[in-house]
């Protein structure tokens, strides 16, 4: 992998992986704690509508994705707030509608659409430097929001009803949270692709929350794990000539399964210790 670093595209890919890990750590942890993984999946897939819109209007597809993702995320967030019982159905519908809109818009756009697949399956090795600046800016927005409203985010994730009695604007927090997910999704799109965004968003965070008993530290751990998975995945894909996004996800998935196994093992050891008679 060291020899690969001489290529600018590979260095950019590494930077992209590290930058996306910041968003993964912060937003992913909140997604896991708030149990809105399904909602995040919906936002990620609906973002494809934004790509289609970008191609159709002839603007930078990514700008279309940012706008479309934010709007569809807020729509799904509102649905969750207003129709809790039916929320999963409606999110499922918006999930598919977003993707379908993207596909149809691309169909009706004249001309060749060269890097379409890169949004679906990721193309971390083709990340341009301008994209890195965009990622940096989105990370700054995410970080700023979470630093400013950390105590409200944690309190409303833990016990929404109680947070409401303390005057925490719980609904606004929820909508801000889905907006953050939309931003994170756009960042991750080029790294692992829309289809696998949800995996990279949740797996490092799920491992972190299982092992680390502090929200801030869990965010740091999730970000570090994400960076680790991306680096290992990149190196493997480079040496074995595999699709980078999918390799990263397989590495993360392996990490998650290893963590689950280790948790089980720890549980068994602990129960064996508590069952064994005191000396």
């Amino acid at each position: 992998m060291i020899e690969a670093l001489q290529f600018e595209f590979f260095r950019n890919a590494l930077w992209a992986g590290l930058l996306v890990s910041v968003a993964c750590g912060i937003v992913g942890t909140l997604v896991v704690l708030r149990r809105i993984v399904f909602l995040s999946g919906g936002i990620a897939h609906a973002a494809y509508g934004g790509i289609g819109l970008g191609f159709y209007l002839g603007i930078v597809p990514l700008l279309g994705a940012v706008g479309f993702s934010l709007i569809s995320a807020l729509a799904m967030g509102l649905v969750e707030l207003r129709a809790r019982q039916r929320a999963d159905t409606v999110i499922g519908v918006l999930w598919a509608l977003g993707m379908a809109t993207g596909i149809v818009l691309i169909d009706v756009t004249p001309g060749y659409k060269p890097d379409l697949m890169s949004y679906l399956f990721g193309s971390i090795l083709a990340v341009p430097p301008s994209y890195l600046w965009l990622m940096l800016a989105l990370n700054a927005v995410i970080l700023l929001f979470v630093v400013l409203f950390f105590k409200e985010l944690v309190a409303s994730s833990f016990d929404e009803g109680y947070a409401l009695t303390r005057g925490v604007p719980v609904q606004a927090m929820h909508l801000a949270m889905v907006a953050l997910i939309a931003l994170a999704v756009v960042m991750m799109m080029r790294v692992v692709g829309l289809i696998m965004v949800i995996a990279l968003l949740t797996m490092p965070a799920a491992i972190a929350v299982d092992w680390v008993k502090d929200v801030k530290m869990a965010m740091v751990a999730a970000g570090s794990l994400s960076a680790l998975f991306v680096i290992i995945g990149l190196a493997l894909s480079f040496h074995l000539n595999l699709t980078s996004g999918a390799t990263i996800i397989l590495v993360a998935g392996t990490g998650y399964l290893v963590s689950l196994g280790a948790l089980r093992l720890r549980g068994r050891v602990r129960s064996a210790q508590s069952e064994s008679p005191a000396p």
Binding site: E152, D159, R166, K213
Partner: protein, 277 residues
């Protein structure tokens, strides 16, 4: 009950702030509440004076939890108005604390008991302000009062039901409330925890206004000023000593008896409505 109370809407213009102790800590005026289409609370009016200790009793589904949620502002009443210390709830949030019956929560949620108790300071601190060292001291004090300070660094998910209940009470006390609402604080806990919470309630009684829903008043009876029997309507509201024998007997009984409602036939139940204070 289709009209709104004439005493002023709960979200009306803010009355001038009173620094003096208000005459009424909690006032409900012809309040009705519903979940979806089902009315669970019908035409409830009551006034609680500062420092009063009120126990709400009644069968499951009788509206006790709903009434507490209406007072704390988690449920908007269908009709009628709620005033806390003479103001709309939105203006008095910082003065009112609510201890829910064991909440549904993620046992793996990475917060400690102390961090949960510190959430009581949210309303006092406000948006964009960090918790301060003073908040920490107040939280420590609240945890000591409820005898959970030794659990401060334990993850909340690792605590027993009784321990968690006390942490929630510490969280409520940390907000330094003038009105404390507790939903079944004595339910689903072991006898030792029960004794601790009862002792705490005794020590808090008359230091602040307390409204507690319960199935079993038990040892707290001598401390209770007012008992309210709620079965959708407020069938009785007054001194425990004047409560119909059926209520008094019921709520010194184990919870199972109380859960079924008053163990008396309808003719006797009818006179409950006549005992309105």
């Amino acid at each position: 009950m289709t009209t709104r109370s004439t005493q002023g809407p709960p979200d009306g213009p803010a009355a001038p702030r009173q620094d003096v102790q208000p005459d009424i800590a909690v006032g409900l005026d012809h309040v009705s509440a519903a979940y979806d289409q089902t009315v669970v609370l019908e035409d409830v009016s009551l006034e609680i004076v500062p420092g009063e200790f009120v126990a709400l009793v009644g069968p499951n589904g009788g509206g006790k939890t709903t009434l507490l949620k209406v007072i704390v502002g988690l449920i908007e009443p269908l009709h009628g108005s709620v005033r806390v210390r003479g103001h709309a709830i939105s203006e008095e949030r910082h003065n009112i604390a609510y201890v829910p019956q064991d909440i549904r929560f993620d046992r793996d949620f990475p917060v400690t008991a102390w961090e949960v108790a510190r959430m009581g300071r949210l309303g006092r601190r406000g948006l964009l302000r960090r918790y301060t060292a003073q908040d920490g001291e107040i939280v420590d004090e609240a945890m000591e009062k409820v005898n959970v300070h030794h659990l401060r660094n334990r993850p909340i998910g690792s605590l027993s039901g009784g321990e968690r209940q006390r942490v929630y009470i510490a969280r409520a006390l940390a907000s330094q409330p003038r009105v404390l609402l507790l939903d079944e604080p004595l339910a689903n806990i072991d006898p030792e925890a029960r004794e601790l919470i009862e002792g705490l309630m005794v020590s808090l009684a008359h230091q602040m206004t307390i409204v507690m829903s319960t199935h079993d008043i038990g040892a707290l009876l001598p401390r209770i000023d007012t008992i309210g029997y709620l079965n959708r309507q407020l069938a009785y509201y007054g001194e425990p000593g004047c409560a119909p024998a059926a209520i008094r007997e019921s709520y010194r009984c184990p919870a199972e008896v109380a859960a079924e409602g008053l163990p008396c036939p309808d003719p006797r139940r009818a006179h409950l409505h006549e005992v309105q204070p």
